[in-house]
Amino acid sequence: MYRAQRLGLKYLTASTVMFGAMIVFGLLSSIYYIHPTLLLNTFNFSSAKIVHINGLVLWLLMGFIGSIYWFLPQEVEREVEGIGLAELLFWVLCAAVTVVVLVFIFVQYGAANERSMWLINQGRKYVEAPRWAAIGVAAVAAMFAYNVIATAIKAGKPTGILTVLIADLVPLVVLYLDAFPEMPNMSQDLFWWWWLVHLWVEATWEVLIGCIMAWTLMHLVGASRKVVESWLYVEVALVLGTGILGLGHHYFWIGTPRYWFAIGGFFSALEPLPLLGMVVHAIYDAGEQHLQVANRPAFYWTLAEAFGNFLGAGVWGFMMTLPQINLYSHGTQWTASHGHFAFWGAYGCGVIAVLYLAIAKTRGHEALDGRLWKWSFALLNAGMLGMTGALLVAGIDQAFFERAIGGSTWDAFLAMQGRPWFQEAMWTRTAFGLIFACGYAALVYDLLMLGRRSEVRTTEAMAAAGS
């Protein structure tokens, strides 16, 4: 195994741990909705939410980085350049994340000065981490980009997938520069903030997961390079063709000009089209394999990625993207419903697929099956569907009563939060969050135990083929 692959496994492990931390703080965040005085002035909702959403960004980023360190040396058939420094920076990153989380939990906030921005909390959503840590993350990201680019250069002619990845990594890393500035003008702040968030999750991250899925298909079902590369180019053309100007769907209400209604709404409405193409591709591959793949959990999580992406990002997004609807749905639990489902479908499922792929190879088993992965799969997806559904009900209720009828005043907001459907939705969301957490526990146990139990079964097809 290459050193980079071992580093990849470390990143994937750290990713899984962060995933768990995200779930714990997500569950905690959900409880405040039911019990608003919980830990008041000791550990407020905002503190719990900060760890939850930063945990989200980190578990996915670490999952992506781990996946790429896993696949890259196999792609170029040589060790990754600069791997020694990368190994060191992994531990630096883990230490930094630990310190930041501890500060979020025990210090929480500071006075309104630069010291707070540098050491405690920058207070901008998803990028709350203090500036010193943002520098650390930027350094790790730059190192990672160097690893990939230098390796490609040393290897000679880079492959198509690698070229796409490199072309994608450059804007991805540069966009992180928005994690640093502090702009008094909120319109300007949010304008640039959305460059980071949207052009990450609806552009560069989509290309990134596309590259990872391309490699996954090659290793999982032996897909040919020409096929996955061609498809990757099609995906990139459509996703970036719609997603770059789809950024405008965040520029309806932040004080920006009105032409963003037309531009943002139009391109945003086109964003589901490539996602349908991905669903077709997923079913095509499934059919080609007759649904018989040696590593069944990795395969089914790959399928979940295509369907989850279409549903969470495509269907849920389209419901609320047109300006006339968004005027009422904006900034409600409807948004949270879409956000949870989209992140899960577009990225969470993909990282879990790679976890199973990497674990299988590490433990020396090509074939993976069993009962536990199915329980984990069912619980995680059912939990997510339940949370999403509950938040949808709450969000629609909110858009109707608080925004459309109530005019979005504090009174309307507070009255809304106490409405029976809203309260029931909050209870339901927490209940399904617990189911999701059980699914996570099953996932972790399965990953730890795979290959170490004697119940790894080969599939029927493999047995029939006599392998």
């Binding site: 089209l273 077709v280 095509y284 080609e288 006339q324």
Partner: protein
């Protein structure tokens, strides 16, 4: 726009894309499995998609250009599954390096039980 029509419009828009997905799924299944059932279901799902699109165009208070976009999308969604499938087939057929067969009309039914022709 009344609050009720706002919610109804949003749900119709979501149903629009969801039905497009169902149509795509059923189209693919009809290419994989024999039997008139899937072909009928595919046509029915597209009919439902057109009905949802018509409801959006005729019944919702969206501005006219969004309705034009929905109608145009309805036509585009019709083409996406067959065009994508055909493209993937050509891609795989043009590439024999790993010897897999494109999944066209294998003689089998839904639950993977297959009967050799």
């Amino acid at each position: 726009m009344t609050p009720g029509s706002m919610v109804a419009t949003a749900l119709l828009l979501g149903a629009f894309v969801a039905t497009a997905g169902a149509y795509g799924l059923l189209y693919c299944l009809s290419r994989l499995y024999q039997g008139a059932g899937f072909r009928k279901a595919t046509r029915l799902s597209y009919a439902i998609l057109c009905t949802v699109a018509a409801a959006i165009v005729l019944l919702t208070p969206l501005h006219v250009w969004w309705k034009v976009l929905v109608a145009a999308s309805c036509a585009i969604y019709l083409a996406i599954p067959p065009v994508t499938w055909r493209y993937l087939n050509r891609l795989h057929r043009g590439d024999t390096s790993h010897g897999s067969q494109p999944p066209e009309r294998v003689d089998r039914n839904l639950f993977g039980l297959f009967h050799r022709a």
